[in-house]
Subunit: 606 residues, 2 copies
């Protein structure tokens, strides 16, 4: 060992001890004949004092930032204590030192607020990783990993490794493929998830499986998507949806406690997908704050009740609302006093192409109880007050209304809600709100192919009540314009997402476990019998030999860590991430390979 202690370890109780330390030079300060050095390692920082007697050696071997240093010395009490660091009461009187390695001047400063731009930091990721901010993220990641494993272990789950070189069965996202040298012209695929393997493990009787596992998707990368990403992947047998919800909210609560010290004792809220869409305008609502969406147009039945309040705006000649497919409102608390300028700025905000609205209607619910609106001339004050109150506004609040085509308008009101939540400080990094979103549609309509695609994946089971609808009806869509009237559009899935602070952190489903139903599902997705057998014959086969009822969930580990770390950027929580073009700029990968390698693989560049 090059050290007896770490740089975060020594305390006043160690006073007088002869010790050695090794680490990196954080700073060098010279006061007269004395040199002070802050020595840093993973565990902390310790102050070193080099007295005059070492000056000739220091002159011959000057220390610089990021030099690797080993010292011997004695633990001394500091006269000038530093209460900000755990080693702040002591310093080391250095008796001898060795420079283990020198360092060039780093291309950016190794500090929390670095001067390094993104590209530079990625190129020198090994230096970026030295920064405390990044190190904390990776430490948090490890703590989450550990807490998840401990919880799952305690609950009888087994970590079972599934293969990485599998078969290409593209369905949804593209596979990364791996040419096989030993089988020329053939390819392995890298798994998009271990989905079918974990289901096979249930067929094999393993009962409870987990894995913290890399997955791969060759998608066009958006900001903050990685071609390789990590899942906490789990599956259980002999369970119903309720069992899975309980088990995994337990896991997240355990992680909160172990990693953040947060006792999340309250029940995790639940809402159906339809409730989420109508009340928040999206399927992963941030419920750290209210501002529920009021639907003041289309009559819509939710859970047996008509939730649209179209009557509130009836009898007016305001064509913008009258002609719109959808009119929705939110009440923003405490901003009735917004100036004209502030409202104009918000109007511009919703008119940006990303949001795509034509305008923004407001209703001020003044502190004195009066109501003022940009559509005063079309509606009575009573009408407007009724809308405001239906949206949940009280005195001092402001209601914003958007109108337009349904999908876009719902999305826009959701964005506006999140933006206002952000501006008003309702989206606190240190507040955590979990939510289960349930009862997703089983299918989505693909306009491109005029067919159904699986909203989750082809292994998700319909709600028991809806199995008959699926079996009893043809998936063929004869009238594309009216696809919503097809019986398949109403089929709900036994699927669930866990949402944390407006981010989907996990999703799963109860699976199909009968061969006939699975075949019907492949058929519904437009897959021929031959194609289904070619791609998933092993799974259909497995279902013939006593497949148990089962279900599971996969958590997006990178995103979960980012949110727990108070960030929305997953890259900051990955040791060696790729950029938005899928490149590792440190390695300069991908790159060309030798002709010899291509020849061996029997491949030609096209």
């Amino acid at each position: 060992m090059y050290r007896t202690h770490t740089c975060g370890e020594l305390r006043i109780a160690d006073k007088g001890k002869e010790i050695s330390l090794a680490g990196w030079v954080q700073t060098v300060r010279k006061f007269g004949a004395i040199t002070f050095v802050d020595l840093r390692d993973r565990y902390g920082i310790t102050q070193l004092v080099f007295s005059e007697s070492l000056n000739s050696q220091l002159d011959a071997q000057p220390l610089g930032r990021e030099f690797v240093l080993q010292i011997n010395g004695t633990v001394l009490e500091r006269s000038n204590k530093n209460a900000n660091i755990p080693t702040g009461e002591i310093e080391i009187g250095v008796s001898s030192f060795v420079i283990l390695n020198k360092s060039a001047v780093p291309p950016f400063t190794i500090q929390d607020d670095t001067d390094g731009g993104d590209d530079l930091r990625m190129k020198y990721r090994y230096l970026d990783l030295r920064r405390n901010a990044v190190k904390k993220n990776l430490e948090l990641r490890y703590a989450v990993n550990r807490a998840a494993r401990n919880y799952l272990h305690e609950n009888n789950f087994m970590d079972i490794e599934t293969p990485f070189l599998i078969k290409s069965t593209p369905e949804g996202a593209r596979d990364f493929v791996v040419p096989s040298r030993m089988n020329p012209g053939q390819f392995y695929a890298l798994p998009q998830s271990p989905q079918t393997f974990k289901q096979l493990l249930m067929v094999s009787g393993y009962d409870r499986y987990y894995q913290v596992v890399k997955c791969f998707r060759d998608e066009d990368l958006r900001a903050d998507r990685q071609p390789e990403f990590t899942q906490i992947d789990c599956e259980m047998s002999f369970v119903k949806q309720e069992d899975i919800l309980n088990m995994f909210e337990g896991m997240i609560k355990h992680i909160f406690k172990a990693v953040k010290g947060v006792d999340y004792t309250e029940a995790v809220q639940r809402m159906t997908w339809e409730e989420a869409m109508w009340n928040y305008g999206n399927d992963k609502p941030d419920i750290r704050f209210g501002m529920k969406v009021l639907n003041i147009k289309s009559a819509f039945t939710l859970g047996g009740e008509i939730v649209a309040k179209g009557e509130l705006l009836a009898g007016s000649e305001f064509s913008v609302f009258n002609d719109a497919e959808t009119v929705v409102a939110i009440a923003v608390p405490g901003v009735a006093e917004y100036t004209r300028k502030q409202v104009d700025e918000l109007t511009e905000w919703v008119k940006r192409p990303q949001i795509g609205m034509k305008g923004l209607v407001y209703i001020r619910y003044n502190a004195d109880g009066t109501v003022k609106s940009s559509v005063d001339k079309f509606y009575t004050e009573d009408q407007l007050r009724a809308v405001a109150e239906a949206a949940g506004a009280g005195k001092g609040d402001m209601v914003f209304i958007l109108a337009g085509a349904e999908e876009r308008t719902r999305k826009a009101i959701s964005e506006l809600r999140l933006e206002m939540g952000e501006r008003l400080g309702f989206r606190k990094n240190d507040e955590f709100k979990l939510l289960w979103v349930l009862d997703f549609p089983l299918f989505e309509y693909s306009e491109e192919d005029n067919r159904w695609v699986a909203r989750h994946h082809p292994f998700t089971s319909p709600k028991p009540d809806h199995i008959e609808v699926m079996i009893g009806n043809s998936p063929v869509i004869t009238n594309a314009a009216e696809y919503l009237k097809h019986p398949y559009a109403q089929i709900k899935a036994n699927a669930y997402d866990m949402v944390l602070n407006g981010n989907e952190i996990g999703g799963g489903s109860i699976r199909i476990f009968q061969r006939e139903l699975q075949e019907k599902m492949f058929d519904a997705l437009g897959m021929s019998k031959e194609e289904a057998l070619h791609k998933f014959g092993f799974l259909l086969g497995a279902f013939e030999y006593g497949a148990p009822p089962h279900g599971g969930i996969a958590f997006g580990f990178d995103r979960l860590c980012a949110i727990l770390g108070g960030s929305e950027s997953i890259r900051d929580f990955i040791a060696f991430p790729k950029n938005n073009s899928g490149r590792d700029v440190m390695l300069d990968a991908p790159s060309t390979i030798d002709q010899k390698q291509l020849d061996e693989l029997a491949l030609k560049l096209g």
Copy 2:
């Protein structure tokens, strides 16, 4: 939940409880009007009793092997107790049952001694995995995984995930490559190990790293090699070899205790590579038994002492020994009585092409002290007795002697030693002997390229004493025939292997951490400056910014599990292994991919 308890859980103390179970039908036995069913799940087997009242339902819905069954019933005390299973004192009086899924007749029996051949079991791996023998292996694997992680966590190691889509830098084995759609004509590689990444993490100051991680090598597969395999990969900073040896024998001992209940309290033996080669004929000796190899020919200096006993056979005209490069002997205990036939059979054994010897010379050291040998006419009895005793033989033992070219003969005597150890029962599955082999040569000579290749990998550091030899001499080999006289042939590495029962289970080294020495190493391996920069520029760059001294080790997780499980076949310890052609016969992978996929990747089959 489909159950209140598992099939391994209920005891006599639960008598009278109303419970539900779910699992697989192991057996159905009918005695008169009563039906007995053994219900199996991951946790055990519970006996069910179906009384006469359920017979009409059983007739309508007959149960078969591997059917998935859910039952409600009452815990009863068995009249006929079964002491062999934990649930053997009770049985369940079934009140109602539901068949959750049927099963076709499995293609082989789901039992420890199955009638399924290897191919059939691999095709239906999901059924093979139901067999208790395979399940136990995967449970052991998980226990080893868990024990390793716990130990490393306690010792401040951090699990940090390294990327799977990296840069191809073939050096040694072939890389699997992954074409990049977004960067046409470019490829990622799958990592052969996270070697350079873990070193970068040390440069980044993470101090102690671990990962249980998949690695990939596109090699021509030998029996029991997998294209994807798992390593327990570790690295530490500010350590010397001794620190690593202590840390990781601690880990293995912890695993022994946690997984096998074995207290491995003795010190782990150590020997140098040269000792291993001369005393056992290979670099991973099985030291569960003796039979050390006696070198009775070439004078060889080991640790300053001449260990060859050439004088023992001096003065004879026996040309087989006189002309051989190497003559080696082992003393096999207790087999002096072997018949002529037995010796002949062994002679044939060493003459098989895999061993490749011309013959086998024996010396019987009879119980009465007399000595009898196949080379009696060339040597005196005293000479032969001296050889036998030098080999460690006593009365009742037999000495076997092989002669020939050095490398082949050493390998042959090692094989013979292992074979005799096996035959005599010295290689017990439940006995574990650890060994460190140290001081490996840094380089190996490549006849094909007439240059040096790294014996371990190019990041391994020479012994400190040998750095000067490396820096002070040119790597060029001017006289290929005498490469052993090149100074580089004598350079030893700071490398170590951990050997368990004759299998290498882990290997590692202290790493080079200075740019100049790393460049010299690449140069020694015949890599041009440009090539070194292209392939490993990021690592050379990292070494300029304060790289600490560091070292590490990687354990072959699959093999470690196999040995702990008393098997030498790693496939039995992998959930979904590939066959010897690298195929997954269950998935039928690798396979062809769509033309559309090829087009998107800008690839043509050659």
